[in-house]
């Protein structure tokens, strides 16, 4: 049987909606009604001209009939099914379900997403309560000072014949301890204040920053002007950045952004980027900056100026993702670890050696991207200090890249758990999708 796809179901749905007979539509696009029937029941693959003709006849964009919009929905539902025996059994009928009940499917996916987010928040919060070193250290500090004050005060109050020298000494100790108490109480209040103002949905500073960057489209016009705004002012104005930890991360991100913008002014950079077919090495040479800076600058180009979204993902020496700008068709994991085959990690294991690979994301509609990656070490604490690694991977969509494509691109995924490549050599844990394919 041909690979199933929802295109047929969508054609049928749309056709019924506009009230057209199957035979009538088939005639209009020049195929037999029985062939259209097979297509509508997802038993024949369909593409190219035929889909454009049908879309025209039905008065919709061809994209509305092809896959794409549902891919994320299917992934979410597959993940949801993994923890449920009954649903796992019915996985082969998932596409049929999504095709017939798109509204219910979306509701289920959203509910599942929300539940996952909330479970994560609960985890973060309970972790904070039980293992928060700052909280326990501040409480210890408060109790220690209170103990000293209470003890000293009662000596002063209850000892009638106290020696003047001792009395002065105890008064000094009291003053000292009460100043310390005021300070630690203040720090504690500030901390609790911040903890309670942090929204549940963005429970770590990294997530807070991610949300804000996503909402800003990863582009800051205020920093592109001839007299750019102060990063701290910009961060202060934002509603999304609430905790001081996220604030510090945002300021450091924007400071770097502003410096990149200074070295690679928007108009000139955009022109050079287009002219060089988005070649990072050419741009690095042209603007006399390192590759990572070019990656960052390319990812900050607004979509409407270059015609497509350019993705970027960065990690530190532990492989933890520190920056995520996803592109359509190349989803980035939010909580779980990423695919070990990403050129990002290849670059991380060989600092200073740039990597360029055509990659193909697994899934029903494999999409190709040109990935550039490089890892740059730095010595922020001086020559003898620890070496700090940062790797970055630029994700260039196929339509922007003008590098010849190999016959066999590097096949990779998002994260093992939702990756359909069952036989992958670098697999870390079994996939919940392996059995479906």
């Amino acid at each position: 049987m041909a690979r199933t796809s929802l295109t047929g179901s969508r054609i049928r749905e749309r056709r019924t909606m506009v009230g057209r007979k199957q035979a009538d539509l088939a005639r209009a696009v020049g195929i037999s009604p029985s062939y259209l029937n097979l297509i509508e029941h997802n038993r024949r693959r369909i593409g190219g001209k035929l889909i454009r003709d049908i879309a025209r006849e039905l008065g919709v964009e061809p994209a509305a009939l092809t896959e794409g919009a549902e891919a994320a929905l299917l992934t979410t539902l597959r993940e949801a099914a993994a923890n449920d025996a009954g649903a796992t059994e019915e996985l082969p009928r998932l596409e049929e379900f999504v095709g017939r009940f798109p509204g219910w499917a979306r509701l289920l996916a959203e509910t599942r997403q929300r539940a996952t987010d909330l479970a994560h928040s609960v985890e973060v919060l309970s972790d904070r309560m039980t293992h928060d070193p700052f909280l326990s250290a501040s409480l210890h500090e408060v109790i220690s000072t209170v103990t000293a004050i209470r003890s000293t005060a009662s000596i002063l109050a209850e000892t009638r014949d106290i020696d003047p020298e001792w009395r002065d000494r105890f008064h000094r100790n009291m003053a000292e301890e009460s100043a310390r108490l005021a300070e630690s109480a203040e720090a504690l209040v500030r901390y609790l204040d911040e903890a309670s103002s942090t929204e549940f949905t963005a429970s770590t500073p990294q997530e807070e920053l991610d949300t804000w960057l996503r909402e800003s489209g990863f582009h800051f016009a205020d920093l592109e002007r001839a007299l750019p705004m102060e990063p701290a002012t910009l961060v202060k104005r934002s509603e999304a950045i609430r905790s001081s930890a996220a604030g510090a991360m945002a300021v450091s991100h924007l400071t770097r952004y502003r410096k990149d913008a200074e070295h690679m002014p928007l108009a000139a950079f955009q022109e050079a980027a287009t002219a060089s077919a988005f070649d990072p090495a050419a741009l690095a040479a042209r603007f006399d900056v390192n590759l990572t800076a070019v990656f960052r600058r390319m990812a900050s180009l607004p979509k409407d100026r270059v015609g497509a979204e350019i993705g970027l993902v960065c990690c530190d020496g532990s492989g933890t993702l520190t920056f995520r700008k996803p592109v359509d068709g190349f989803p980035l994991p939010r909580y779980s670890a990423a695919c070990p085959l990403w050129p990002l990690y290849q670059a991380l294991s060989r600092p200073m050696a740039p990597v360029r690979r055509w990659v193909e994301l697994g899934g029903r509609n494999p999409r190709r991207f040109l990935a550039y990656a490089v890892c740059q070490p730095s010595q922020p604490a001086g020559f003898d200090g620890p070496q700090v690694l940062e790797a970055a991977m630029l994700i260039l969509p196929q339509e922007l890249a003008q590098v010849p494509e190999p016959e066999q691109p590097l096949e990779l995924g998002t994260s093992c758990r939702i990756c359909p490549r069952a036989a992958c050599a670098a697999r870390r844990e079994p996939s919940i999708m392996a059995e479906v394919f």
Partner: protein, 127 residues
């Protein structure tokens, strides 16, 4: 007859207050600030009563207690544990490791004095 108490505590102003209270009652008060070297000091010259804080730099009060209980010379030494934390887990640990008595911060001066004297006269057995 002199009564010797050793106070292992790292907060100088708490030391000062306890020293004052106990000295006025005729105690000779010695102090030690560092957790890491406390056991050597205790074993070298065991006092009549040991007042031991839980949160110490270098080594925790519980570890110190465990070690002195394992040494025959100090196995029966009366020990008053001081802790800044709540009652639950710390009290349990103090009892398990053989503290003679347990007191939470912030404490009342009179209570400390009463307990130290009671420990000296053997009023508290090992818990």
């Amino acid at each position: 007859m002199s009564k010797r108490v050793l106070l292992v505590e790292d907060e100088p102003n708490i030391i000062e207050a306890i020293r004052f209270i106990l000295s006025r009652d005729g105690w000779s008060v010695e102090t030690h600030l560092d957790g890491a070297t406390a056991v050597d000091r205790i074993v070298a010259a065991p006092p009549d009563v040991l007042v031991l804080d839980v949160m110490l730099p270098g080594k925790s009060g519980f570890d110190i207690l465990k070690e002195i209980r394992a040494d025959p010379a100090t196995a029966a030494l009366p020990v008053l544990m001081l802790t800044a934390k709540g009652q639950g887990r710390d009290r349990e640990l103090a009892e398990r490791y053989g503290a003679s008595c347990f007191m939470t911060k912030p404490f009342a001066n009179a209570e400390v004095l009463k307990t130290v004297n009671a420990l000296k006269s053997g009023a508290f057995g090992r818990v």
